[in-house]
Symmetry: C2
């Protein structure tokens, strides 16, 4: 039993490290945090980037409403407290995925600067890449693929970002994507080029 | 803009799939859920398995107290409600890691059958591997590497599993590890052999 106790201590000092995990994947890891208004194109661009990286054989994961809201965060609503907790949990999970050596993408409106800055604080320098998906309210409202702006204007949804709740744009994002005029594919290429130029896609 | 809307819809139908992610990694994915008393050896065995798999070039991740309690679940205590929420969140995150194509290991006492069964329900058949790390209370209490049993016996810790709170052993675990007598290394080899025999380590 003494031997097992010692082994226990030893192994706690010898976890498989994040660097080991990246080495196996021949890449660096990071959290790409896409933020922007509803219908700005966050999720579409993030999925396209994810696809392009997968085609390059890179190891990635995408966190968005599709896999978070019905699962981990299904017990959260839309109060101010729940919104903050929503982003906090996503940030903590994104940190775990990055620790696992994956290029991690998140696509949530995440309208409040303080919540996003708290996620940045969780991560080491260079591991948090804040990406503003910049589209004007007018353009987003004209797109309105799910009819949410229409409902918000009609008062059927309260606290909707851009209508009766603020969107606080990042002050110093690592990347700004002009989703007013450029195509999804071109914007995704800009993101992949940024990752490549900054060394995230090689060991 | 009409074109972007269409792209949006298209991409929501064409996420990088879990199968794509496994293919890139030349492996299948799963959640190995280690459960057992405090000091039974869960975390040590899981770390050793993780190490052996990393040496084989496999893509893994380990969730345990070290990376969960200070992060994602730092706002949870030890009430019955918080304990259930603790395991629920870990289950949801493990599901995401498995979806990402990783062989995922979790090491938590997780004493209640209902909580573990709820995690099993989250996952597809064959994706949840419940592993009982079987060591008698006497042996665990003799090991007591952190002095927790001593504190529980002295009444300084309330609701301690095995002392004044029950441990509900799995009824049909996929694997039982005899941690009363076998070495950590031998038990870790048993787990790796199980994964290999059941096809998890190849595409």
């Amino acid at each position: 039993m003494a031997e097992q106790k010692a082994t226990n201590v030893t192994w706690h000092d010898h976890r498989v490290s994040s660097d080991d995990r990246k080495k196996i994947k021949s890449q660096k890891s990071c959290v790409m945090w896409f933020t922007g208004l509803s219908a700005s194109g966050k999720s579409t661009i993030a999925n396209t980037v994810d696809h392009k990286l997968a085609e390059l054989g890179k190891h990635t994961y995408l966190l968005d409403g599709d896999n978070i809201r019905q699962g981990l965060n299904k017990n959260l609503g839309f109060s101010a407290e729940d919104r903050a907790e929503n982003i906090r949990r996503i940030g903590e999970v994104a940190k775990l995925f990055s620790d696992a050596g994956l290029v991690t993408l998140t696509a949530f409106i995440s309208p409040y600067r303080a919540d996003r800055d708290a996620v940045r604080e969780l991560l080491a320098d260079g591991d948090f890449i804040e990406i503003l998906v910049d589209a004007s309210l007018e353009i987003c409202e004209a797109r309105d693929p799910k009819g949410l702006y229409k409902k918000a204007r009609a008062g059927e949804i309260k606290g909707f970002t851009g209508i009766d709740d603020p969107y606080e744009a990042p002050e110093k994002p690592e990347l700004v994507l002009d989703s007013n005029s450029k195509s999804i594919d071109d914007l995704a290429d800009e993101v992949v080029a940024f990752l490549d130029a900054n060394g995230y896609l090689s060991a």
